[in-house]
């Protein structure tokens, strides 16, 4: 049995005619770091709040550590949570905030002190120990919130967009810190975010949700390389995957502007005889311009004119219009091009995805 099990879990708010979370089935293993991602309103926070017990489960069953949790009060679920807005107790100092839960657990004072000292040291909060939250920066507040969660020794950590109020630099360092805490404590962690970079960098597995329905569950690279549908393909990865309307006939994909490429045997095999209008998806880094790739895929050489460039430092993003759509190619920092330059490129045959135009399903990932 998995540590957390969702069995057909649904959530419908009173007065609504649609489920906010629909038939959620998911198993989460002990010590796993799992991230729920998706756009606003996809049901990820609602799911987290159902695990915490702050939202009533209107259908299905939720098990934590083998026990059915539908009717169990939040305090009895064995969870610790970090909130988006920190939810610190404004009238208490840092050490009192961290130790408050332990005090309510009736832990002896010297033991509380020991645990609070450990958390304060671990999170580098020594010099802020006697400060109140209003005298702390956003990053320090989030550390206190983390401290409050880790001292209680709970087996399950819930994190609701904990880094979304921090600036970009701090977010990166806190990401590392949260990962470190997870490794050291080994508690099962469920992390909700709308930032796919956070999910990709921290999670063992990612759950992608859209309109209350799980789209795909998998390891970060599985999702990146093998998205099951166009939504997942577009959501994971930055810059976003390029999408082109194509017509597949006789082993050829023809773009809206008349350009065409010959499809490889591998691609055709996966297409399994499917033909007609589809969406071709390819990531920016799989659009190649180097001599070697041009040589290998010479017959599928395409060209376009650069409309914009983005210098990222370690690489460049080249924007161009092709096949009736805006596209972006990620190239190394040594491949310098200017706006207005003509570029020749090929699509890596093994990296192309073909999506159904209606359902968005990825034919390349169908069994």
């Amino acid at each position: 049995m998995s540590f957390i099990e969702f069995k057909n879990v649904c959530k419908r708010y009173p007065g609504s005619d649609k489920d906010t979370v629909e038939n959620l089935n998911l198993n989460i293993e002990e010590k796993e770091f799992i991230a729920f991602v998706g756009p606003s309103g996809c049901g990820k926070s609602t799911t987290l709040r159902m695990i915490a017990g702050f939202e009533e489960i209107t259908g299905g069953e939720l098990f934590i550590d083998g026990k059915k949790m539908n009717e169990v009060a939040p305090r009895d679920r064995g969870i610790a949570m970090v909130f988006q807005n920190y939810a610190l107790y404004p009238h208490m100092t840092v050490e009192k905030n961290i130790g408050y839960g332990l005090k309510n657990m009736k832990m002896p004072a010297d033991e509380i002190r020991k645990k609070v000292d450990w958390a304060i040291e671990m999170l580098g909060l020594e010099e802020y120990r006697y400060r109140k939250p209003k005298n702390l920066s956003g990053g320090q507040r989030q550390r206190v919130a983390l401290g409050r969660a880790i001292v209680k020794n709970q087996k399950l950590f819930l994190m609701d967009e904990p880094l979304s109020n921090l600036d970009a630099k701090l977010r990166v360092s806190m990401r590392t810190e949260i990962s470190k805490i997870h490794r050291e404590l080994g508690a099962t962690t469920i992390y909700v975010t709308h930032d796919q970079v956070e999910a990709m960098t921290m999670a063992d597995r990612i759950v992608i949700m859209k309109e209350g329905v799980i789209q795909q569950v998998g390891k970060p690279m599985e999702l990146y390389d093998h998205p099951v549908n166009q939504f997942v393909a577009g959501f994971i990865g930055s810059p976003q995957m390029n999408f082109f309307d194509v017509t597949v006939e006789d082993g050829t994909a023809t773009f809206a502007d008349g350009n065409s490429i010959t499809l490889s045997d591998g691609t055709l095999k996966k297409l399994n005889g499917r033909r007609g209008e589809m969406i071709l998806g390819i990531r920016g880094e799989d659009i190649k311009m180097d001599a070697q790739n041009m040589e290998i895929n010479g017959e599928n050489r395409l060209h376009a004119v650069i409309t914009d460039t983005e210098v990222m430092g370690n690489e460049n993003n080249l924007y161009f219009t092709f096949g009736g759509a805006q596209a972006v190619a990620r190239v190394s920092k040594y491949e310098i091009s200017q706006i207005g330059d003509r570029i020749d490129f090929v699509f890596m045959p093994s990296k192309m995805h073909f999506f159904d135009r209606e359902t968005g399903v990825n034919y390349m990932e169908m069994q």
Partner: protein, 283 residues
């Protein structure tokens, strides 16, 4: 940067306010100055500027006050009033605070309608219900008891409204975090909500104190035993006694005014906030 014109307007405003303050302060200064004088001196100074100047500090300076403190029970009345106010402040915060919290944060049927009914009670004058209160308290055998005095005053629609306005802006996630910290709802109210809302607690305390301190009608009806009287009734009984001199009358009025002045100067911020409360977030 304040413009020259704005600065001139400010000066004019300050001048007008100063004149008004002096105008309102005159009776107070007059009362204070004459509370130290024997009646003969008060009458003699009546038509001169000396009416606003206290007498020289000699052995008889505090005579009027000593007379009031030693020969009447006025200090006891003041003590009684302070006790009643303290009890009502504590109970009022608990009862009205809990009601305000429920109206702000707990989802129950007809919540908005309840709030409306409570707000409608604000327009009912005390005098219209005082007879009913008196009959109930008398029937319950609570006349001449502290309980009989405080019972009708504990619930205060204005304070409930005030609490509700402030509590509504308290973040919900703090309550959720507290739940996960094993803090139950009652403990949460007393250890989190009240400390997080110090300003409104102070405002309600000040208003309750001033209400009790200035209340005349209700204690006059409930208390018949002289041991239990409040400062206002004591003031009336002392000043209406024909043996009390004018100086002593002014001394007792001064005594009854002092706590109010202290409270106003210490808590003016809270009083203003209470009057202008729009439910803005607590700092």
């Amino acid at each position: 940067m304040v413009s020259k014109k704005q600065r001139r307007i400010n000066w004019i405003l300050v001048a007008v306010l100063l004149v008004l303050s002096i105008f309102f302060l005159f009776p107070v200064i007059w009362m204070l100055a004459n509370s130290f004088k024997p009646d003969a001196a008060i009458t003699a100074d009546m038509n001169s500027i000396a009416a606003f100047i206290p007498p020289a500090l000699d052995g008889n300076f505090f005579d009027n006050y000593i007379e009031i403190i030693t020969n009447t029970s006025f200090l006891r009345y003041m003590g009684n009033t302070l006790l009643y106010a303290a009890i009502l402040i504590v109970l009022g915060i608990i009862v009205n605070g809990l009601a305000g919290y429920a109206l702000a944060k707990i989802d129950f049927p007809f919540r908005e309608q309840w709030l409306l009914i409570i707000m409608m009670l604000l327009i009912v004058p005390t005098e219209t219900v005082i007879t009913i209160h008196f009959l109930i308290i008398a029937k319950a055998g609570l006349l001449n008891t502290i309980l009989g005095y405080i019972l009708p005053s504990i619930v205060n629609p204005f304070n409930i409204f005030l609490f509700r306005q402030v509590f509504v802006s308290l973040p919900d996630d703090v309550y959720e975090a507290a739940q996960l910290d094993f803090c139950g709802p009652v403990k949460y109210f007393f250890t989190m909500v009240i400390p997080m809302s110090k300003t409104v607690v102070a405002t309600v305390s000040v208003f309750t104190f001033l209400n009790v301190w200035n209340d005349y009608l209700w204690p006059a009806l409930v208390f018949t035993s002289s041991d239990m009287l409040t400062a206002q009734i004591g003031l009336n009984s002392i000043t209406s006694n024909e043996n009390t001199t004018m100086g002593q009358t002014l001394a007792v009025i001064t005594l009854v005014t002092i706590p109010v002045i202290i409270i106003y100067s210490l808590f003016s911020k809270q009083i203003v906030e209470g009057v202008t409360s729009t439910g803005s977030k607590e700092g």
